[in-house]
């Protein structure tokens, strides 16, 4: 019984050459001509069909999934350009994958349900350990998606995932499924077999100022806060310094999400604003319930890194004494922006906490699906913003 994990990365300006170089790195590590499972994280320049063709020809994966990202996290640093591959050959881990595209016109609850069902069908194994998704288009109703997936897999089943990201433009998002490049798609990966899993999920943001009440909501559009146009909250705090009208996620507003206190978990669930409407309404993933109290939230480098260490500690604790074989990280792109050039320090801190020589890979996302805390909290899974989700496999 063995699991072999390899990571390849390259950022040659020619995407196909970069893919080939990354594949060669994988082959040199695995010493095999085919692979059981490949996960691809690439910046949008590398998200092309020829690139995927290079990977499938070179590594002959039985199952391949992947996503564009605005930030690739590797053991030796973070970058916003290139292509990274995670390859797993294992007789301990079994993979089932699924994909549903054209999410614009579909009921997200059904998408979650069907995605999990199709992945379970592909897995065809009784012992399931975790389901994760890489998606674009479920973020406006993440809780429905999670509910759907859990209806298939069980309420206490760990469901985690990440929302595809790009360079804050939202125009270059893609998902990779087998030999296809998809858009507006949800990918599901159900992993079964005999292995151990640790999860840590934190954000490191603190509430700032007095609480406000959401006074008018329509779907996921927050019309008013304290009976004033919702955007006034950001205008009050940020002034003219932040240009909220253009590219909201890349603006400074993204550094200060809204926080909703959850009694059930005693944590603040964070919500980024993803759009601002003409009338001053703001759009948040999933929206926020009318009458709910919200806070402006703030964090800094130190707090982010400390929370990452806490997440790593939680993930490692779940593994007990078992040596980790892989560290997989999904981190919010906006949170990554707060770290700036200190992103490497966070990576180093995570690796030091879990195990310095463990293979490490991760991506930056527009949303992270997971619990608060560790794997024991998987009953309450949310679509987060500004979060870091660390998965350790042993």
């Amino acid at each position: 019984m063995a699991t072999h994990i390899a990571i390849g990365f390259h950022q040659h300006p020619d995407p196909q050459k970069a893919a080939l170089q990354a594949c060669n790195q994988i082959r040199n590590q695995l010493h095999r001509l085919d692979t059981d499972f490949i996960m691809v994280f690439s910046s949008h320049e590398y998200a092309t069909a020829p690139v995927i063709e290079v990977i499938t020809r070179s590594l002959r994966p039985k199952r391949l999934v992947g996503s564009t990202t605005g930030g690739i996290l590797l053991a030796n640093g973070a970058t916003n350009r290139g292509i990274a591959l995670l390859a797993i050959n294992s007789d301990e881990m079994i993979f089932g994958i699924s994909a549903i595209d054209g999410l614009d016109n579909l009921d997200i609850h059904n998408v979650g349900f069907d995605l999990a069902r199709l992945a379970a069908y592909d897995l065809n194994h009784a012992h399931r350990e975790i389901f994760f998704t890489l998606s674009q288009g479920i973020e406006k109703n993440g809780s429905a998606f999670i509910r759907g997936a859990k209806e298939t897999l069980g309420l206490a089943f760990p469901v985690i995932g990440a929302i595809s990201s790009d360079d804050f433009n939202y125009k270059n998002l893609a998902q990779f499924y087998q030999d296809q490049v998809l858009h507006q798609a949800a990918l599901g990966v159900l992993i079964g077999g005999s292995f151990h899993l640790g999860i840590g999920s934190t954000h490191g943001f603190k509430p700032l100022g007095k609480p406000r009440t959401v006074t008018k909501v329509e779907g996921y559009i927050i019309r008013t806060i304290d009976n004033k146009p919702a955007v006034d909250l950001y205008k009050y705090f940020l002034g003219d310094a932040a240009n909220l009208k253009t590219n909201v996620m890349n603006s400074y507003a993204a550094l200060y999400p809204l926080g909703v206190y959850l009694e059930e978990t005693r944590h603040y669930l964070l919500r980024n604003i993803i759009d601002i409407l003409e009338d001053g309404s703001i759009v948040c993933p999933e929206g926020i319930t009318e009458g709910e109290e919200v806070h402006l939230m703030i964090s800094n480098n130190e707090s982010c890194i400390l929370s990452a260490i806490e997440a790593a500690r939680l993930a490692k604790a779940s593994l007990g004494d078992r040596p980790p074989k892989l560290i997989l990280v999904f981190e919010s792109l906006a949170r990554h922006k707060i770290l700036g050039n200190t992103a490497y320090n966070q990576i180093q801190a995570i690796r030091d906490t879990i195990g310095g020589s463990t293979p490490f890979i991760g991506m930056c996302s527009y949303g992270e699906i997971g619990p608060f805390g560790n794997i024991k909290s998987v009953k309450n899974v949310y679509l987060h913003n500004e979060n870091i989700l660390i998965i350790a496999v042993a």
């Binding site: 100022g209 009050y236 705090f237 940020l238 002034g239």
Partner: protein, 509 residues
């Protein structure tokens, strides 16, 4: 109930009512005060909340400023790193194409620009695009045409940035390059502008900063420097190639000439060898007949005839000696002489030679000294040939050293490169400096009184030197007129030394 009782009851009721009223008024006043207190507290709390919000606003604004500063610093740092990497790569480029191959679109993304164009002038003075980021090929041609047509780029092509360029030029640059925020920098070499570097962003991007301007200035400067270096390298490379061709041609000519010389030398040696051989046969007959005549085997000869015959004999001996020397030289030079190498004790070789010549030296009243260190044990020589070297040098020394003089045969105390250095020095008349250079030439004899009186062939030193060289050794001379002369020569201690000298000869200039 009598009236008094009623009055009492009424009084009591009235009293109770008054008390109740008093209590009610008291309670009301008391509650009002509590309410007032609570209202005050509420106001305080609201004020605190508002203060907290104001503080939070201050914190956010400060945090924003810090974030902006950090982002700008990160951006600058990343750009500097990217620029440093590219600069290092292009500075190593050996030709112009290589420079632009090493500049990738990634560099410009790291510098924060989505569009970039670099063009340089070739030998035909035409602008040629060397790097393109985000422009379509069709657009590039028109950009170059429009750029070349603009008078202000022809007359004074300066550094332009969207921040500080006169409106007319700014608008024209935006029109040509389709980028609202831009930097356009000339690529300068010592001969002037050889092209341009353009970087820009479209309308919704961030403004160009002073830092961006500085970085692009550095990049354009580095490109100019690299182009200059590459052109210089190409020039030097071409010159070197021409020089190498010439050297190869000359080497070929010299090799041919050397070959000719060697062939001539070989023919000369063969000729001398043949002639000497042919001469020796009749000489032997002459000597034989002269000996018969002198011995009186044909009949007694008159004294005068005997004297003449003795001279014929002596001159024949000299001629045989000369011919033998010539033959030896020719054999050694042509490599036909077979040397019989072996290990011999240094001391015994030197002492044998000394014994041989001691009577001659002593007869002249000259002192002969031998100095051979104990640690020099054996040498690897053809003993008969090596002895000829010693004998030749000792004979010369004896010839040119006056009575009371000293001749010293010495061996150096150390072995260097597998060779022992021997010296034969005298306190004789010395050799003039001009003659020292010719001393090892065939038939050369120093023009001095002694040589005029003593006959010699001028082949002895040539032969000695050839013998030493056949041992892979060297021979040289130091002399001072009136003080004396020392001949040095080296002989090997083992066969290993032969390999060393071969290597030395190959490496020698």
């Amino acid at each position: 109930m009598d009236s008094n009782t009623q009055l009492l009851v009424f009084g009591i009721i009235l009293f109770i009512l008054v008390c109740g009223l008093v209590y009610f008024i008291y309670s009301f006043i008391s509650k009002d005060e509590t309410l007032k207190g609570l209202t005050e507290e509420h106001k305080k709390l609201l004020r605190s909340f508002n203060d907290l919000d104001e503080q939070a606003r201050l914190i956010v604004r400060t945090d924003l400023e810090l974030t902006k500063a950090r982002e700008e610093m990160d951006k600058r740092l990343n750009a500097l790193n990217a620029l440093q990497r590219s600069s290092r790569q292009i500075s190593q480029a050996l030709n112009e194409n290589e420079i632009f191959q090493k500049l990738t679109s990634n560099l410009f993304e790291d510098l924060g620009f989505s569009r970039a164009l670099i063009a340089t002038r070739g030998e035909d003075n035409q602008l040629k695009i060397r790097l393109n980021v985000s422009y379509k090929q069709l657009r590039i041609d028109s950009i170059l045409k429009e750029f070349e047509a603009e008078e202000f780029f022809k007359s004074s092509f300066n550094f332009y940035s969207s921040n500080n360029t006169p409106t007319k030029i700014r608008e024209r640059i935006i029109q040509i390059f389709e980028a609202e925020f831009f930097i356009l920098s000339p690529v300068l070499t010592q001969t002037g502008s050889v092209g341009f570097v353009f970087v820009g962003n479209r309308y919704n991007a961030s403004m160009v900063t002073q830092g961006d301007e500085e970085l692009i200035t550095i990049l354009a400067g580095q490109i100019g420097q690299s182009i200059e270096n590459a052109r210089l390298f190409e020039k030097v490379f071409r010159s070197t190639q021409e020089l190498e061709l010439k050297v190869a041609e000359r080497t070929k000519q010299l090799a041919a000439a050397l070959d000719q010389v060697n062939q001539v030398s070989k023919k000369k040696s063969e000729f001398i060898s043949a002639v000497s051989h042919e001469l020796r046969t009749p000489l032997t007959s002459i000597k034989g007949y002269a000996a018969i005549l002198i011995a009186g085997k044909i009949g007694e000869l008159p004294v005068a005839v005997k004297e003449r015959l003795a001279k014929i004999n002596t001159h024949s001996d000299n001629l045989v000696g000369l011919i033998n020397n010539l033959l030896d030289i020719a054999r050694i030079e042509s490599g036909r002489h077979e040397m019989k190498f072996g290990l011999y004790k240094v001391k015994s070789v030197v002492e044998n030679v000394a014994d041989l010549l001691t009577p001659q030296v002593t007869a002249k009243g000259v002192k002969l000294q031998i100095s051979v260190p104990e640690n020099i044990d054996e040498i690897y020589i053809d003993t008969s040939q090596a002895e000829r070297v010693f004998i030749n040098l000792l004979s010369n020394a004896t010839k040119f050293t006056p009575a009371q003089g000293t001749i010293t045969i010495a061996a150096a105390p150390t072995v260097e490169n597998g060779f022992v250095t021997f010296s034969v020095s005298d306190t004789g008349i010395g050799i003039p400096e001009d003659d020292l250079k010719k001393l090892f030439s065939e038939f050369f004899r120093v023009d001095n009184e002694i040589n005029q009186n003593v006959k010699g062939t001028g082949l002895g030193l040539v032969l000695a030197k050839n013998i030493v060289q056949a041992h892979h050794g060297r021979m040289w001379v130091e002399s001072k007129v009136g003080v004396g002369t020392t001949f040095f020569f080296t002989l090997p201690v083992s066969v290993v030394a032969f390999d060393n000298t071969t290597i030395e000869k190959i490496n020698a200039p």
